[in-house]
Amino acid sequence: MTPLHHYLIFSALLFSIGLAGALTRRNAILVLIGVEMMLNAANLNFIAFWRYSAHPEALTGVMFVIFSIGIAAAEAAVGLALIIAIYRHYKTTSLEKVDSLKG
Amino acid sequence: MQSLDQIFVTGKQWLLAFLPEALQPVGSILLVIAAIFGVFATLFAVTTILERKILGRIQNRFGPNRVGPFGFFQPAADGIKMLTKEDIVPRDADKIIHFLAPLALIIPVALALSVLPYGRNMVPVEFDAGLLFFFAVGASTELSVFMAGWSSRNKYSLVGAMRGIAQMISYEVPLVLSTVTVIMIVGSLSLVKIVEAQSGFLFGFLPSWHVFTPWGFAGFFLFMIAATAESNRSPFDLPEAESEIIAGYLTEYSGFKYALFFMGEYWGMFAISGLSVTLFLGGWNAPFPFLQFIPSYIWFFTKLVLIIFTFIWLRGTVPRLRLDQLMSFAWKFLLPLALTNIVVAAIWFFSRALQFPGALGLRWIFCAAILAVSYVWLGRGVAQAQRAKRVYQYAE
């Protein structure tokens, strides 16, 4: 049996890896990957808390994660479409070069 | 009869009794893995030789008939050839991904094979959401196609991989939507429960398989078309179109890795055929009450081989599609028909309440009429689109 706080520590580490990636990498796609990773770490927390809760039959955590996965899929689709549109305009995906408001 | 039907289950329990208590779960898993690999590797060998022989007969020639009696040792000869060939990796290839790509195909496919019910009480891993698991691991085979195509550093490989991914994503939609009808009627994602729901007999002698209902027939039809595309078989073999792009994403593979890819594709075909048997053709159920003495697993594998024969027959008949035809067929024909089929399944489900005499016939005719009208109407759209003059975007 794995104690609850191991899952929480694991998800904290995963979250911080995603955060570090999103903060340090310049490529927009990698930033998006980092954001997805942070979202996933949060999802794991929901599942872990649901599993160790006193009333797991309420399925609250599971429901939240299901909706979260759905929204994450939409987020990834729109985000990548935006990146491709930006790339088409600026010919780069580096976030530092995409800094002018005027096309 | 009962003992013959359960011979593998009792045999496994008998074998496991030799192990100490603590090792029994591990032993059970290992036995199941060995059984799956053994059975399907044999089926793979038999299918390759049968495919070549049947294709030969269809094309007015003998198939391979030189190695052994009637050429039935040909798979052994092929296997020896494959294993002794040099394993060539292109110099500029991404070697790690090039190595991992065949594994990324064979592992999900083997996982998908492990949730199918092969007979009464004979399901390797029973999941409450077995169907979802099947599609989840099935979706991850696309990654292997991408890995193979991208890491080879060959334009044919890349073109083949891109075609393959586009095709697999497009045909996954009708594939999943056509199974939604079964889930709606049975009310479960468990493959075991889906088979059990088809076990009765209508009027005492007609099998109550899903394929014998209007929505089930349409669902089976859609599922088989999408399954052909998912397993990259002719007429949907664009990712490996020999006459256009050599061998697609397999171009830079040779030797054992190629054999693994080859086996993975056939196992994928077996898995998806097994799923269609489970969902629509009654799984391991016998077709007639008086044939129930034959063990259940024999029925499952008979149906599986029949489906594989149909795949081979189709391959010998239909020419390859063009890429735009492929896409318009998926999105303009299969998808609307699958959505219509879901509506029909809902009508079928809720009209169960009708109890007057002849209600079954009325339901049958009404549902079949909706499907037939939409089939003809959508089919005309596809046919008209084929006749329209093709506009080329880049090659004027």
Binding site: - | R57, N60, F62, T317, V318, Y375, L378, G379
Partner: protein
């Protein structure tokens, strides 16, 4: 309606599949090394040289005129003209090929050498089992391998061979008649004091 074409095709292939077990029309393949098809009269593979009589050296029709060597599109024929002469089928003295090689790894079976040969000396063969482990030596055929008797030619292409024989017989007869006439004239001239110059006129 969509799909009818596919069903028609499936029915046809199913008939092929089932028919291949009982209908020879639907299984036209021949099991080659054990069974063979009878050769067709107009079939051709690579050229060979025709000789009359029993002796391939004496009866060889080729006079080493080298037309075929010049006309050959892939240039696979190599001829060396002899220094001396030998009599041909009409008894006239002609050059003959000292060497006559055909590189059948280059030959494309176009039959142009046969078309251009004025002496009916080169014809097309029908052997095709020429595979060998030595792709340079064994695929360069020399005169002894190339020379084949006229009977063999008759066997392969009977119509063509009869036509050729008739034409050659006609020429031979004419030549003999001419020779006889010349001989008669010579005999007549011999009676007369002045002899006629015999050989130079014949050579033209």
């Amino acid at each position: 309606m969509l799909g009818t074409g596919i069903i028609k095709g499936m029915v046809e292939t199913a008939r092929n599949f089932v028919g291949s077990y009982h209908d020879p029309e639907r299984l036209t393949t021949v099991q080659y090394p054990e069974e063979r098809l009878a050769p067709k009269e107009n079939g051709r593979s690579f050229p060979f040289l025709v000789f009359d009589g029993n002796d391939q050296q004496a009866g060889l029709r080729c006079v080493a005129c080298q037309i075929c060597e010049k006309e050959c599109p892939p240039q696979c024929i190599y001829i060396n003209k002899s220094k001396d002469k030998k009599p041909d089928y009409v008894g006239k003295l002609q050059f003959y090929p000292a060497t006559f090689d055909i590189d059948i790894s280059v030959c494309m079976s176009c039959q142009i050498c046969v078309e251009v040969c004025p002496f009916e000396a080169i014809k097309m063969d029908q052997v095709f089992e020429l595979s060998t482990s030595d792709r340079f030596g064994k695929l360069l055929l020399h005169k002894p391998q190339l020379a084949k008797p006229n009977e063999y030619f008759h066997q392969l292409h009977p119509t063509d061979a009869n036509e050729v024989d008739a034409r050659l017989g006609e020429e031979k007869r004419k030549a003999e008649a001419k020779a006889a006439a010349a001989a008669a004239a010579a005999a007549a001239k011999l009676a007369a004091p002045k002899p006629a110059p015999d050989e130079p006129t014949k050579a033209t």
